[in-house]
Amino acid sequence: MSISNELQCETYRRMLRIRAFEKAVEKLIKEGEVPGSAHSSVGQEATIVGACMALRDDDYISGTHRSHGHPIGKGADVKPLLAEILGKATGVCKGRGGSMHLADSKVGSIGESAIIGGGIPIAAGAALSAQVRGTDQVALSFFGDGAANAGVLAETMNMAAIWKLPVIFLCENNLYAATTPARDTHGQPDVARRADGYGIPGVIVDGQDVDAVYDAVATAVLRARQGEGPTLIEAKTYRFDEHCIGLFIKGAYRAKSEIEFYKTERDPITLYRARLLACGRTAEELQSVESEVSRTLAEAVEFAKTSPFPARESLYDNMYSNPVRYPA
């Protein structure tokens, strides 16, 4: 299965949106507008969008600390996402979550966990919920090569297998957990091979190729919707920027030549653009998408910057669903 002709421009648009969003965040950090830290998805857009294009609007996704791209890939409005990163009242989480904890219920984004691996059982729980409620929704958990070593992945894959939960475990293997190479922390290089231990399919896919990711996820989604259970997909991808935007890490843990190779030869957006042109899309069509994305992001930056911060009186909002006297 590859992405249909009708969805090619939308796929390209979402990939560009993620790239432009991350560039906007980087600029806002330099301007001192972003509290805390932020982690860029640049380089991983094909994995994110390829996976999300294979999902329905009412399917669920859970993410990680590096997750600005996931709700965008699922189709979220970028304005409230960017406002959230600036800690504004108009943020998608009203300024309570920030960069590492975006969630957008409108597009099935059930949250991003900055506790590595935390979102994995949560996605499986959403799949359990769909199964019990008798819908054919699926849930997809994005996690990294670092989270692959968290115990909850093993526990959750096992339970998903025995209960045939409609969940897709999608490992974005960008080769480094912060600064630690996966080759130093994984018993063997392929996370996908762990699927064997639970009797579920394990698939390795080129994470820089949006069509390949789409194909793998669409196959897993079909299997999940038919009640056949989970799939583990490992997308081999690469993070172009530092672990954390603007974070200076002393000591080289990645070769400059490696980074350059990925940026020049394996940029998922460059690769997809070339493929679209080769299969008959016109340069004008693509340029129109590109300028539209620039406009969208410029508007989002303006919206986020001019939005108010949350009022101090709202501090205790949403602590509990019913009135609990706070502070005591």
Binding site: A103, G111, I122, T156, S321
Partner: protein, 331 residues
Amino acid sequence: MSSKIDPVSSGARKPTTYFDAISLAQAEEMARDKTVILIGEDQALYAAGGMFGDVEPGRIRSAPISEPGFSGMAVGAAMTGLRPIVDLTIASFVYLASDQIINQAAKLRFMTGGQFRVPVVYRASMWHNQSNAAQHSDRPYPMFMNAPGLKVVVPSTPTNVRGLLKAAIRDDDPVVFFEDNDLWPMKEVIPDDPDFVVPLGKADVVRDGSDITFITVGACRHPALAAARVLETEGVSSTLVDVLSLVPMDRDTILSAAAKTGRVVVVDTAHLTCSAASEIAATIVEKVFDSLRKPVLRVTAPDVNVPFSPALEKGLFPNEMSILAAARSLL
């Protein structure tokens, strides 16, 4: 342990044990609301015995020994339309689940700006005072009082365990529910109304007297009540408030009971340091200091790991004698 429960006809006015009251509450809520599910180890055996009534098999998940995994799955299920009950069995296992309880369940409503609610109940049964040694004997509720976003409940009788568990299942927030295994065989006639709930955040005023006030947590209600009866024969009149909920805590009832007599003993099976008793005592001292006649005393377990040998464990937890001794020192 339990006989087969029929939630519809179980209203007969016969004494019900604390243990059966828990099963009854779960069975009634599962019958009432199809979104209530149960996850935990060994549940298949209980379900096959009919403990939960006639429930679709998919709603009872007999889980592998994977507390972090299934406690997190309950969060995801709660965020997407279900009301899971997680049976963690032994309360000491709650530490395995605590990342998901504290980092996820407690925080996600807040961190998502209210986009999601997390109606999940984590049940944990406390097995102290039975020579189970330190890894099976904890009473960890005070730690969860220090995690905003959770509700923390410690029931003490067959009636209130059923009513509080039903309230917890119906509540839209995560609740950590600490049952006391010592109380399992305790029997009493419980209300037959299937909609009988005990609201979270409301203390139970068990006795109303004028000379001394006992504030109790969980099973401590019973030795404190025995102590109050002894004092009564000596002409001392006691107030006894069983807090039932630690979060939200019924501070108004606790403070007025404390101020009324000015002599307060807080009784709690947790270890002394940062116990629930410590929080209650501090609140009383801060808010009604002028009404106090004597220092507020805490009767708790000491700050030592729970030993295996009965010779060492005996007398470690609050009991009638230690509560009486504390009370007499204030009179």
